[in-house]
Amino acid sequence: ISCEVTRTVDKMCIEFIANRSYSCEDLGLEQIPEYLPFTTEVLDFSFNFLYALQSPTFSKLEDLVSLDLTRCQINWIYGGAFQSNSHLETIVLTGNLLLFLADEAFTGPSHLKHLDLTQTGLTSLEFIPMQDLGKLETLILGSNHIQSIQFPPDFPTKNLKYLDFQMNIIQKISANDIAILKKTSNLTLILKGNNIAVIEDRAFSSIFFYSLNFGGCINISVILDGLQGAETVVLWLGSFEDMAHGIDISVLMLQGICNISAHELNLQYHHFSQISAGTFQCLTKLQKLDLTHTFLKMLPPDIVSMNVLKELHLSKNDFMLLCDISSAAFPNLTHLFIRDNSEKLNLGSGCLETLSKLQYLDLSNSQVQSSDCCNQELRGLSSLRHLNLSYNRQLLLHNIAFEECANLVILDLAFTQVTTSEPEGPFRNLHLLQSLNLSYCQIGSSIQYILQGLESLNVLNLRGNNFESGTMLNDNVFRQTPNLEVLILSSCKLPGIQTKAFYALRKLKHVDLSYNNLIAFSSDIFSNLRSIYLNFANNKIRIIPRDMLTSLSGKSVINLSYNPLECTCSNIELLTWYKQNIDKIEDSDKTTCSEPKSLAGIKLFFVNLSCGHHTAQIILITLV
């Protein structure tokens, strides 16, 4: 038996939508292939070699709307390079070292909206010919060497919504430099990663932004001085884990915010070593405040009430006790994030009691431990709909765990050890719960009653729990959750599945049983096989009889990869069905033979068996 693979290495573009959308990415091409239809509207030509764009380069593709030329070694763009492409709206030139842009480089596309010049070696705005860019909405100039944002007088402001200067080397901004931006409105201006040292006082005054991003700029005072009188929805002043933290944010600094109109403020990764009520004095109009990783140990109890604040991010800080966030100051909060707390977070008792409007609470990965979770801890959170307690230490659930949170829709306890003490379901009051994540929760045999009362449950993740004794999942378990559509039981050490285990689940659509010890592919345990997704990957299935397969009709998809499937005549029923139903197979590349040894590793699809009366003949077809 020999296995021969013929290669046809004439690389062709991939068709996404016939006659309209193509990708020629990384095919080593030096020109636009002739076979692309004239009607092509979307072309990804990234990672090829063009060197110079001339008027003939794209002349045949008159219907082009979007053109991606990322990293095509383009150095020269001559006049009229896009002159035939009057419908072109998007040109991406990321990663081409542009040595020359002709005045008429962008002549032709009269509605050019998006121009991406990231990492093109630009040193000044004047390098870009503006004459044909009047309709521009997005201009991306990130990761260049621009020192000054002196806009030329014909800079397109009419439709401009997004202007990105991130990671340039802009150090100074004068009022004159950006005066032209007064003609824009709702602009997103990104100056992230520029080491801005000087902004003229009030340079940004009377300009109306949607978002202003000075991320990673160390000297917040300088920026706030320049922003006096500015209006913006989002003000992003945060720093980053991989950047110098810069100077301490002082009370005085933040007073500059009193004269800036902003709804959302981000100050992540700055230092707040001395925090006081005064710190928040000018922040009372905020709707969203992000103080992720700002070295906070507490928020002062005497903060003036921030009545309009709806969303507060306090993740990656150093709180000891949940009460230290002084939640009473934020009575209208709907979203609260205290993830990845560096200390073991003590939830206390009623620390969030005043947050009666809180809908979303994230306390994940904060070393939370509770021996009587969580009625006292979450007292008063009657509006709570989404609770994340995943990646914590250990929760002991006695009786009803979330008594006051009866409106919970999503509950995530993944990777937190969950222990229940009595044979009544701790979640039995959560009649509205739709999604429950119990993966890696070490729940074991308590699965018998833990689903009690969850009649709305839609998605259940039980991955990584040990159900080694397969009998745990008897037909009573899932009878409690009749509306389940998605069930994850991967990596549960399941040796087999009881015949009636899933019988009550008439709406089941997606079942993941991968990474177990199953030896049989038993489709007959599901009551509805019309359009189901069954993942049996990484089990121990060798042979699948025909009747298990033929019932899989319609849009069903199965995954049998990484099973020790036999490619012998004992399994001819699978092999025959497989070839005829390749559209129902996921991961066919990894669905290979284990037996006979001569075929080990060969993909099932390429195996042709002739099983005669007495002899078995094996034929391998060659790939076209």
């Binding site: 062709m12 990234s46 990672f47 991406v92 990130g142």
Partner: protein, 155 residues
């Protein structure tokens, strides 16, 4: 148009047949480290100032790549291959969709990412023996950003 659909298949063949060169990372009397890119699309650029830093918990590195996919979300996993088994030893989300923790989060396809400087980590003793460590970075769409297979010969 039949020919168009053959492309992904061919692609796969190239992956399995064209290998990237093996690069030396460091070498001293106790330790030799090599790496090879396991990204089908490109080689990976990486150097380390010395082997000895690995046991003290701080090394200077240079690393660079050109992104083939954007990294609004970015994950890293480190797996140890030992006696034919893959043992996960580290896994972390480096970039979150709306919470860029690192300055390079959100970079796009085609951008060059470069890091040069110190990296510190929990210091540990490298056990004796020959083993492989695979470092894989992938984005929210499960696309490989960097895949590197380190071969460690420790005496």
């Amino acid at each position: 148009m039949k020919t168009f659909k053959a492309a992904p298949l061919i692609f796969l063949l190239i992956y399995t047949s064209i290998g990237w060169p093996t690069h030396s990372v460091c070498k001293n009397s106790h330790l030799e480290i090599y790496y090879i890119s396991c990204d089908p699309l490109q080689d990976f650029a990486f150097t380390l100032d010395s082997c000895s830093g690995l046991t003290t918990g701080s090394v200077n590195i240079r690393a660079a790549t050109v992104l083939r996919h954007s990294i609004r979300e970015l994950f890293v996993t480190v797996n140890l291959f030992f006696n034919g088994k893959s043992i996960p030893i580290f896994s972390r989300q480096l970039c979150e969709q709306n919470h860029p923790n690192l300055s390079f989060c959100g970079k796009k396809k085609g951008e060059h990412v470069y890091y040069e400087g110190p990296v510190s980590f929990r210091s540990y003793d490298i056990p004796h023996g020959d083993f492989n460590v695979t470092v894989e970075l992938f984005n929210g769409d499960q696309h490989t950003i960097v895949c590197t297979n380190f071969t460690i010969l420790s005496r």
